[in-house]
């Protein structure tokens, strides 16, 4: 399902249901017998990837899109193919970089240390923003406009899902949701941090990311422990009553 729900549909639902709506349509049954088709048609792919190479100089703008169309050998008018204008370059970058993660994941050892795998993959993804990092705040501004917010949230959800899947997470309890929401929040804040980072090789962003992931681990570990504790108390109570001959 690649259709994005319009924002007003999304906002019509109560806040607590919104998060489950985001996940509800993120993907469907993943088959191993056929590769999913690349989400961009060859023409779009050619124009948008050429446009992306103009972003460092022209920013995320219609201008970059026009330059891209020219480079790819199309008339300026072909930018009409992209009704969302400059935002389509942002989306192209997000989607193509997300799909590129799978190639990088083959070097990981699944099931060994999932948090370490997530950190490696997320860092790899952040580094893909390097060539355009000085323009990334423009992209963030576009991503947070009301018109594109639903697409942005969905794309972030898909990235979070991709990172967890490639890192080897097989959790299918209610933690499925909390894991994805937590990772999405960590990734988004690291991405924002990176636009301000002036350290060499973005080491500070790397530190920020690993620190946040560790904190997240602790919080989630704590929540799990709390759940276990409640369960143990309830179990203890039942056992206690049973030992008193009460039929529970």
């Amino acid at each position: 399902m690649l259709v994005t729900r319009p924002l007003h549909v999304f906002l019509r639902h109560p806040a607590n249901l919104r998060s489950s709506l985001v996940w509800q349509c993120i993907r469907d049954y993943h088959s191993y017998e056929h590769e999913a088709p690349f989400p961009f048609a060859p023409t779009e792919d050619a124009i948008l990837s050429a446009a992306l190479s103009h972003v460092p100089t022209h920013g995320f703008s219609i201008n970059a899109l026009t330059q891209g169309a020219r480079d790819a050998g199309y008339l300026d008018i072909s930018t009409n193919l992209f009704p969302t204008g400059a935002f389509s370059i942002v989306r192209y970058h997000l989607v193509s970089q997300r799909l590129a993660l799978a190639k990088h994941a083959s070097s990981l050892q699944p099931q060994v240390d999932i948090t370490a795998n997530i950190a490696t993959l997320a860092l790899h993804r952040l580094h893909a923003n390097k060539p355009i990092i000085h323009r990334w705040q423009e992209a963030l501004a576009l991503l947070s406009t009301a018109r594109h917010l639903a697409t942005s949230i969905r794309e972030l959800a898909l990235l979070s899902d991709e990172l967890l899947f490639l890192a080897g997470s097989t959790t299918v309890t209610s933690s499925w949701y909390t894991n994805r929401a937590a990772l999405a929040a960590v990734y988004a804040s690291a991405e924002l941090f990176m636009t301000q980072d002036t350290s060499k090789g973005f080491v500070e962003t790397e530190e920020f990311l690993t620190r946040r992931l560790e904190e997240g681990e602790k919080v989630r570990g704590g929540l799990d422990m709390f759940g276990k504790w409640v369960g143990m108390q309830a179990g203890g109570l039942v056992d206690g009553l049973r030992s008193k001959g009460i039929w529970v």
Binding site: M1, Q24, H30, E33, H34, T170, T173, S174
Partner: protein, 253 residues
Amino acid sequence: MAARSFFSQALHRPTPILEFLFPIFAVHRSRVRYASITTSSASPNTEPSPSSLDRSFSAKRRKPLSEKQRDFLDCALRVNQAGELAATLIYTHQTPPITRAHPHLRPIMHHMYSQEASHFSTFNEMLAKHRIRPTAMYPVWSAAASILGWGTGLMGREAAMACTEAVETEIGRHYNGQVRVLLGWVKEMEERGEEVGEEVRELVSTLKRIRDEELEHLDEAVGEGAREAKPYELLNRVIRSGCKGAIWISERV
């Protein structure tokens, strides 16, 4: 969504299970208890088993599943996982009071529990592998199933068995609907001369096996006095509509 209406249509068509049930009601109880599985001997007659289900290789072309089909599987496997989660919890909470009062039921309770646990892990693996999200109602179903198991366990052997009977009737009907849809795909693929992929083939046989095991539980529960529960009618009706509601919700969230 089209896949959903397709799915619910499949669910509400009259199912062969109820037809399997009628002979059970007619036979004398002591015969039922020792009878071999009525249902699995009945299924081959009512269900086509296309030859392509056994073939492992052919040179035929293969087409990817359509979006509608992937949507259907997404929904179906999510509901199945939720159902098996509930089943394991029901038995977990029923077992202590039941086996304390009726030690002879220990093996049967253990047998049913371990089959449910294996169903649950089968669907857990499938969800992780095919990147399907679990239902958002996961904590709600956990609580509801635990309370149902605990409550019927306290009410005694007959109530616990009536609970199993009611749940398995709905679950069996639910799995039968899925098997029927998948066999419909297989038939279409054969008619178009396409190869049936390993994934669909495996899924059909897994669902059939699990369905047969569920119906086995149903027979065992009836054999252990499910219908003597008081008030049987009410328990049966309430639990079955609960199951239907839970399936309906899990298909959506």
